[in-house]
C-alpha cells in the first residue's frame, strides 16, 4: 500500500465519522485500527521541522513525535500570561505524561500511540501541516472544534487534554495561586486513630444463625 492510498483511506474514515452503535469497535482501539492502515504513511505525508529537533535524555517512554506533540500541547493548552499561575515550562508536564502512559498495559499503550500519531497527522488534510506546526490560536481552535466533532475527534482531544491537564495540576508548584491546600493531615498534626475496636458480638449469634 503506498502512503497516498493509505492517506486517502484515513481521510475517508475521518470524513465518514462513526455511527453511534459502531463505536464500541472504536474507542482508542478504533483509532489504532485506522492508523494501522496508514502504518507510517503519515510521516511521509508531511514532514515537520520538529522531526529534526532532539528530545531530552529523560524521554524513554515516548517516541520523539509523541514528545513533541505533548510539548506543543502543553504550550497550547496551558497559557499563563496575565495570570498568577505557574508557567508550564517550570513544571515537568511531559515527563508526568510519560509516567502516566507507562502505567498503561502494552496493548492500550500501542493503541494510544497510534491515536496520537493520527491526531498529529490528520490535520494535514484541513490545515496543510501537522498539529505540532499549527500556530497557538489555530491549535486552540482545533481543540475546541473537535470537542464538538465526531466521536473520533472527541476521543483524541479529550485524551490529550486530560493527560496534559492532570500532568500540570498534579504538581504541587501549581497549587498556591489557586489556594488549593494539598495534603493536610501531617500539616495539621492529626492523630492516627488506628484500628477500630472489635465489635462486641457474642459468638452465640453465629451458632443460632447456623442452626
Amino acid at each position: 500500500m503506498n502512503s497516498q492510498f493509505q492517506a486517502r483511506q484515513i481521510k475517508q474514515i475521518w470524513q465518514r465519522g462513526v455511527a453511534r452503535r459502531q463505536f464500541l469497535k472504536w474507542g482508542l482501539g478504533g483509532v489504532a485500527a485506522a492508523t494501522a492502515i496508514a502504518a507510517g504513511g503519515f510521516a511521509l505525508l508531511r514532514r515537520s521541522p520538529h522531526d529534526e529537533l532532539p528530545t531530552p535524555d529523560w524521554v524513554t517512554g515516548l517516541s520523539a513525535a509523541e514528545y513533541h506533540l505533548f510539548d506543543r500541547a502543553r504550550v497550547v493548552l496551558l497559557p499563563v500570561e496575565g495570570t498568577p499561575l505557574v508557567d508550564s515550562e517550570a513544571v515537568p508536564v511531559v515527563a508526568n505524561v510519560q509516567t502516566t502512559l507507562s502505567y498503561l498495559d502494552p496493548a492500550t499503550r500501542k493503541e494510544l500511540g497510534a491515536g496520537l500519531s493520527l491526531f498529529d497527522n490528520v490535520v494535514v488534510f484541513s490545515h496543510g501541516c501537522r498539529f505540532v506546526d499549527l500556530e497557538d490560536a489555530q491549535a486552540r481552535a482545533l481543540f475546541d472544534r473537535w470537542g464538538e466533532g465526531s466521536v473520533l475527534q472527541r476521543t483524541l482531544t479529550t485524551v490529550i487534554k486530560q493527560l496534559v491537564y492532570s500532568a500540570y495540576w498534579q504538581e504541587p508548584a501549581t497549587w498556591p495561586p489557586t489556594e488549593f491546600d494539598g495534603p493536610v493531615s501531617e500539616k495539621w498534626g492529626l492523630e492516627y486513630l488506628g484500628n477500630a475496636p472489635m465489635p462486641q458480638q457474642p459468638t452465640i449469634d453465629v451458632e443460632q444463625e447456623q442452626a
Binding site: 453511534r20 464500541l24 499563563v80 502505567y103 464538538e148 493536610v184
Partner: protein
C-alpha cells in the same frame, strides 16, 4: 476457638516481598478472593465462627501511614489499573480500589441502606422473596453499628454542602445530611486518596483486623487466576504472587472446600469466565450497571474551596424514586486534578481562568438508577467493560443534570458547567433546557465516572436466569460463593457499600 489477638494498628499481611519459595501451597476451610467490602466482611464472619480463613488480595498492602493525600499518586497506588480502568469506548472511567481493603479504602464513606422499593423489585422480578426489608434490617443494623455509621454532624457539612442545602431548601426539595462510616472525621477532604489517619471505617481498619484477630490470614499481591473444582464441587483456587516491579514471585494454590469470590463486579465475573464455571445461565459478566455519575460544578460569587472540609455532606433525595426521576444528588468536594475532568470551559485562556478560580466552585454528584445493559468480557488476554449509557437511561441523566443546574442556580451559582466534551455553560434558568436538551447520547459526549460497578453475577431464584442464589452460592457449583457487588440484580441508585456489607454478612452466616 483460638484466642483473639487484635492489634491496635496495621495488619499482618503476607506480601510478595516475604516470598521465599517458587510455589506456595496452602489449605483452609474457606478461601476468600478479594479483601474489599464483601471479602473482608465474609472473612471476619467466618473466622469468628472458628473457620480457617485465607484472604487473597491482588492489590498491594498500603498501610494508612503511607497514604499521600495526593490524588494522582493515590490513583496509581491504590486503584485498579492505576486509576485508568475505563469502558471500551473510553468515556466512562470505572473507578475501583485495588489494594488490601479494596474500594472501601478509597471510597467517600457515604452509607445508604438498599431502598425498599429496590428490594421489592428484586423480590418480584428475581424471586428473591427472602430479601425483605425486615429480613435485612438486623444485618444493616449490625454493620452500621460496627462501622460507626452516623448522620453527618453540622461540622461535617462543608461550605459546598451548606450552599447546596440552602438552595434545596429554597426550592422546597428534600435535602438530608448524608450518613457516613467515619469516626471523628478529620475534615481533610481527601477521602478518595485513602484516610491517612484511619478515621474512615474502611475494611483496612475494621473487618480485616478483626478477621485477623480471629486467625484469618491475608495475602496481598496475590491475584487469583482460576477457581478449581473436584467432581463439580469447589475445591480451591490457583493464584500468582507478583512483586511490585511486575515480576512473578511465586505461584500459589489454596485447597479449600469453600471459595468465596469477592473480587468486585468487574473481576469476579472475569475469574468465573477464566475458570469456565457457574455460567449455565450465560449471565456471568452480563447485567452490568454502574450508576454512571457526573460531577456538575457551579461557580459561586464567594469562595467555596471545594477541597476543604468533609468531602460529602448532604444529599437531595427528592427525585430518588423512579417515578419521580430515579436519581439522587450529593454535594461533592474535589481537588484540582478532579476539576480538570469536570468541565469544558474552552481551550487555553478560558480553561486557565476556570482553574485559577477553582476556589469558587462547588460540585454536585449525580447518581442515576441505570438499567443493567453492560457486560464484562474476557477475550483470553484482556477484560473489556462494554457499557454505553442506554437510550432508556439518557433521559434520567438529563433530568439529573437539569436538577443539578437548577439547584446550583438556586444556591447562588452564577455559572453551571455541563460536564460534556463541548463548552456548555448555564447562567440562568432559561439556559437549562437550551444547554441540556441538545445533549446527545453519543460516546465521548458526557464525562462520566462510575464509582459503583454492580450486577455481573446477579442473584435470583431461577438458575437459568441468574448466577447465584440468595444465599450467595452459585447455582451451578456447590461450595462456590459470590459475596460482592456483583450480586445486585439491579442498580440500587444509592451508594452500595452498606448493601454489600449486609449481604456479605448474611451470606457468611448462612454458609454451612
Amino acid at each position: 476457638m483460638s484466642q483473639v489477638k487484635w492489634q491496635a494498628s496495621g495488619l499482618q499481611v503476607h506480601q510478595a516481598s516475604d516470598v521465599t519459595s517458587e510455589h506456595i501451597a496452602l489449605e483452609a476451610d474457606v478461601v476468600v478472593v478479594g479483601s474489599g467490602a464483601g471479602g473482608a466482611v465474609t472473612a471476619y464472619e467466618l473466622a469468628r465462627m472458628g473457620k480457617r480463613v485465607i484472604v487473597l488480595e491482588a492489590g498491594p498492602y498500603v498501610p494508612s501511614q503511607a497514604f499521600t493525600e495526593d490524588f494522582t499518586e493515590s490513583l496509581h497506588a491504590l486503584y485498579q489499573d492505576k486509576g485508568g480502568q475505563a469502558n471500551s469506548s473510553g468515556d466512562l472511567l470505572v473507578l475501583q480500589g485495588a489494594c488490601v481493603g479494596g474500594s472501601t479504602v478509597v471510597n467517600g464513606c457515604v452509607c445508604f441502606r438498599t431502598p425498599d422499593f429496590i428490594l421489592q423489585d428484586w423480590q418480584r422480578d428475581f424471586g428473591l422473596s427472602e430479601l425483605t426489608e425486615a429480613e435485612l434490617a438486623p444485618y444493616f443494623d449490625e454493620v452500621e453499628q460496627n462501622l460507626s455509621v452516623h448522620d453527618n454532624g453540622e461540622h461535617e457539612i462543608a461550605r459546598h454542602g451548606q450552599v447546596i442545602r440552602a438552595g434545596a431548601n429554597k426550592l422546597g426539595w428534600s435535602v438530608k445530611p448524608l450518613r457516613r462510616n467515619i469516626r471523628q472525621c478529620g475534615l481533610t477532604g481527601h477521602c478518595l486518596s485513602g484516610c491517612k489517619t484511619e478515621r474512615k471505617q474502611s475494611m483496612l481498619v475494621t473487618y480485616l483486623p478483626w478477621a485477623q484477630a480471629h486467625g484469618a490470614r491475608i495475602y496481598s499481591d496475590t491475584r487469583v487466576e482460576k477457581v478449581v473444582t473436584e467432581g463439580g464441587v469447589a475445591s480451591g483456587v490457583e493464584a500468582v504472587v507478583t512483586r511490585h516491579d511486575g515480576t512473578v514471585a511465586a505461584t500459589m494454590t489454596v485447597k479449600a472446600p469453600r471459595v468465596v469470590l469477592a473480587a468486585g463486579a468487574v473481576q469476579t465475573p472475569v475469574l468465573l469466565l477464566k475458570s469456565g464455571l457457574a455460567n449455565r445461565s450465560g449471565l456471568v459478566g452480563k447485567n452490568f450497571a454502574c450508576h454512571p455519575s457526573l460531577l456538575v460544578a457551579g461557580r459561586y460569587p464567594e469562595p467555596i474551596h471545594p477541597w476543604r472540609g468533609a468531602m460529602l455532606g448532604v444529599h437531595v433525595d427528592e427525585f430518588m424514586h423512579p417515578d419521580k426521576g430515579g436519581f439522587i444528588l450529593e454535594d461533592g468536594g474535589f481537588g484540582l486534578v478532579e476539576m480538570t475532568m469536570l468541565a469544558e470551559p474552552g481551550t487555553g485562556k478560558p480553561f486557565m481562568e476556570y482553574m485559577e478560580n477553582a476556589r469558587y466552585l462547588a460540585g454536585l454528584v449525580t447518581l442515576i438508577h441505570d438499567h443493567n445493559v453492560g457486560a464484562i468480557e474476557w477475550d483470553g488476554e484482556r477484560k473489556a467493560i462494554n457499557y454505553q449509557l442506554s437510550d432508556a437511561d439518557f433521559p434520567s441523566m438529563k433530568r439529573a443534570i437539569k436538577a443539578a443546574a437548577k439547584l446550583h442556580l438556586a444556591s447562588g451559582a452564577t455559572e453551571v458547567y455541563v460536564p460534556a466534551s463541548d463548552k456548555r455553560v448555564i447562567r440562568s434558568e432559561a439556559d437549562i433546557d437550551l444547554q441540556v436538551d441538545s445533549l446527545e447520547n453519543d460516546p465521548q459526549h458526557l464525562r462520566m465516572v462510575s464509582y459503583h460497578p454492580q450486577g455481573t453475577c446477579h442473584m435470583g431464584a431461577d438458575p437459568d436466569h441468574s448466577v447465584v442464589k440468595a444465599n450467595g452460592e452459585t447455582h451451578d457449583v456447590p461450595g462456590l460463593y459470590v459475596a460482592d457487588a456483583s450480586l445486585l440484580p439491579t442498580s440500587i441508585i444509592v451508594n452500595p457499600q452498606i448493601t454489600v456489607y449486609a449481604l456479605a454478612t448474611r451470606i457468611a452466616r448462612h454458609m454451612s
